[in-house]
């Protein structure tokens, strides 16, 4: 090996050492041979200019999780820098298609809870910022949000609490702490956080929605409705958000016109169509089952259920997550409510027993169950 080759080898080893040893987060992740670990290492290599080494690691991360949009994008960036333009564009496109396919969370919820994705790159980026700006709130807040959006409520809570230690009493951060606590099922503490936040921001629709959700989880239906009614008023002009609020209260009369507007604005969103069918049936209105589109992707099976093209068992079988099962069960309740109210109640009770309060169907089911037995149409 020439002198130049030895120097190059040494530099490369030093870089590897620095990348492995200088960042405990990377080291922890690598120890678990996790796809995120691969991503973190690939990203660090790419930042240090070693695109040729980064590209295969991004590729491995994608192999382990084909929905890992950030790894697709990182792979694209590495290939782009290596001059592999055509291949790079494929990877970028894959990342964008994955992102385009993610349906945001319910539009009446806190903006963080509407976000969907892995957010690994964000967590990594804010890890770095936190080390440089330990006395500012934004890095903790942003990283906490990334954790919360990916369901890592414990970590999110820790970041929000750090942020609140730096800036005590900031209502927006207090509200996020409430959301994290709610996600952890610590409803009483969450309620306290929301109360504090709302004292400072009484007209914040997102905080009201968060408190309503916690209140319904605690069985405080009237109090929850008071928040939702205020939220509904504050969200005027945003039909999809209003529709969700009204659906949570099982107020189908209020929901229906909002759903019509939401559909006009976002005609490709099948949920607005599904919920319109829900509202129409529950209001006793005629439903034109012949015009319900045939769609394979979820919630297509629930539309097929309304159209009479599929059975309850088949719809439940296709509901492959807890939240989809709750959605399917709720629709079963709606469909049988006219003929057999007790059967409907049994479906709704199942949702209350098995799903979480953040779901529209949970709150709607609680309202249905709270209604007098004789009340079938609303």
């Amino acid at each position: 090996m020439s002198g130049e080759g030895i120097v190059a080898q040494l530099l490369r080893t030093l870089r590897e050492f620095r990348l492995r040893g200088g960042n405990s987060a990377i080291q922890d992740e690598l120890a678990h041979n996790h796809r995120h670990g691969l991503f973190l290492r690939a990203r660090a290599l790419a930042r240090s200019g070693a695109f040729d080494q980064a590209a295969p690691l991004f590729s491995q991360a994608v192999d382990m999780d084909p929905t890992f949009d950030e790894a697709w994008e990182g792979w694209g960036e590495a290939l782009d820098a290596l001059g592999e333009r055509a291949l790079a564009l494929e990877k970028y496109e894959a990342a964008r298609q994955l992102r385009a396919g993610l349906r945001p969370g319910a539009p009446d919820r806190h903006f963080v809870l509407r976000q969907r994705g892995h957010f690994t790159a964000e967590i990594l980026a804010y890890d770095t910022v936190v080390r440089s700006l330990a006395k500012n709130t934004l890095p903790y807040l942003a990283r906490g949000n990334a954790y919360l959006a990916t369901g890592q409520a414990e970590k999110a809570l820790a970041d929000y609490e750090r942020a609140l230690r730096l800036k005590p009493g900031v209502p927006e951060i207090t509200a996020l702490k409430g959301e994290a606590l709610a996600m952890l099922g610590r409803y009483s503490e969450a309620l306290q956080a929301f109360d504090t936040a709302l004292a400072a921001r009484p007209n914040d629709a997102e905080i009201l929605g968060g408190r309503a959700m916690v209140r319904i989880a605690l069985g405080l239906i009237e109090e929850a409705d008071a928040d939702w009614r205020r939220q509904f008023g504050l969200l005027q002009g945003r039909p999809s958000a209003c529709a969700c609020v009204a659906l949570r209260m099982a107020d189908y009369g209020a929901a229906l016109p909002q759903l019509e507007q939401a559909l006009a604005k976002e005609p490709s969103d099948l949920y607005w169509l599904l919920y319109r069918l829900t509202a129409q049936r529950r209001l006793g209105q005629a439903v034109d089952a012949t015009n319900i589109p045939v769609v394979d992707a979820w919630p297509g099976p629930l539309l097929a259920l309304h159209a009479g093209r599929t059975s309850a068992a088949e719809a439940l079988k296709l509901a492959n997550t807890d939240s989809r099962r709750a959605e399917a069960t709720f629709q079963l309740g709606i469909l049988v409510s006219v003929q057999d109210h007790n059967a409907a109640r049994s479906h709704w009770q199942e949702i209350v027993d098995r799903s979480g309060p953040s779901q529209i169907e949970y709150a709607a089911a609680r309202h249905e169950l709270a209604r007098p037995q004789s009340s079938s149409a609303l």
């Binding site: 694209g76 960036e77 964008r96 804010y126 910022v129 500012n136 942003a142």
Partner: protein, 525 residues
Amino acid sequence: MFSVILYGRNDSHGYNLHKRAAISFNAIAEVMSDPDDEILFVDYNTPDDHPTFPEAIHDTLTEKAKKVLRIFRVRPEQHYHLKSKTHLVALEAQSRNIALRRSNSNNRWVLYTNTDMLLVPRREDESLSKILGDVPDGFYQIPRFELPEMLWEAAFDRRDPVGNLTKLRDWAVRFHLNQVVHNFMPMKYDALGDFQAALREDMFAIHGFDEDMLLGWHCDSNLAARLALYRGRVDTLIDKVFGYHCDHTRVAAANNKGRATRMNDQNRFIWDVSSPYLPEQADTWGWPGVEIEEIRLDRETSYERFTSGLAAALDPATEPYRSTSLDWHLYSDLSYDIRHTLPFVCDQVLTYPRSTAVMLVATRAEFVSRFAVAWQAMGFTGPILVPTECQRLDTSHPSIKTGAFSELVHMADLFVFEFGLATQNPDEAVRIGRPESPLDKKSLKAVAKLFAAAASEEAETRPNGRRLPRRFIGVNVIYNKFWPLFTDYIGANINPFCSQVLAGIPRQESSLKGKILKFRGRYGV
């Protein structure tokens, strides 16, 4: 598909602004392909007697740029309430929000950039409209690449955007221009303010830019922090488009004083941001209740208005030239050629709002009637206020409103004082030693008295809500006995005799002479 939002004013912000801006306007227009696309330029706080910045450089813009460009003019009077809070003369957050409020609601995207950027799609056959149309919802940035001053200044042709983009693609490789500068999150790249693409809907949801940011700098980072919170991530379009910045460091811009630069608090506006929303400005951002003039370069241009006004008021000359004279012995001869002077008077008023109420105090009936015709034909909708103290004038034109000076002075936004000879006929030769008749003297005395009163009491007689001094235009006040009177009261420049017109705002004299003048004007002494 998208609205590009830019701001500036008709001044000299940094080196060779006019060329940079023309290059940029034209290049941005060139990558637009959707009929709803638009470039919104907020012309912030350009003096009322100046045209807006894009109007000043319109001849260097392509037809396409003129077609997509909408100019929103924020007048100095509209900026006044912020004047004491900032050292800056143009405010970024206010400007960008004013444009956002008035942007085309059909557009999905808003793109924030500046008037020295060229955006180069990496695929030559792809427009920015197509690129933005194809990408999912998000908040997108791109890295900014620097373009040495020599390259854009020496090699770019302002009106050849296609050629300029081609050159850039070549230079990028030959001169190693493309260096990505990564940044701390949420600023994905350095100089992020030169390309931030956000959903229009998102910008409305978060209440636009933070209008508390009055000291300059970091508006882009604040937006990035808030949109990064709102969206959860900052996306890149580096695979689709490169952005090149026409470097302008030879001369520091007005808001760049090196280490002494005053700027917005980074902690408050970036590192301690806790919410994307700005509830305190939810109902006021972008000044929704304020009427902002919109100007186009592809229709009803200033030139078209100017020529319409003069065409209506004047017949073309029938002789190759007419004469006047500066001979000393003619100093007291107040005869002048209205047809030659009127274009210079119209030039003084053209840039004012169309709703302007102008007070016209004159001696010559011909001046009043011609001015009224031109005023209306230039598209002004405000009244011409003629005091009844001015006698023997034709006030039948529908734009003219008459009344006592003491009443009208409270309604005027602008003053024109004409010092001519009431008895001069239109076809008389000028400056040949014409004496003043008793009627001329009487008329001139009345005008001079009203002028002194208006100038000395200007501050006390402003219309309700108006806070800035009003402009006075003096007609036939150069090299004659009314020059000293006019310039005693008005801070006017020295203008060529040929233009016949001086203009300015009342002097703020604290000297004894100034106090005496004010006293004399106020009490008609």
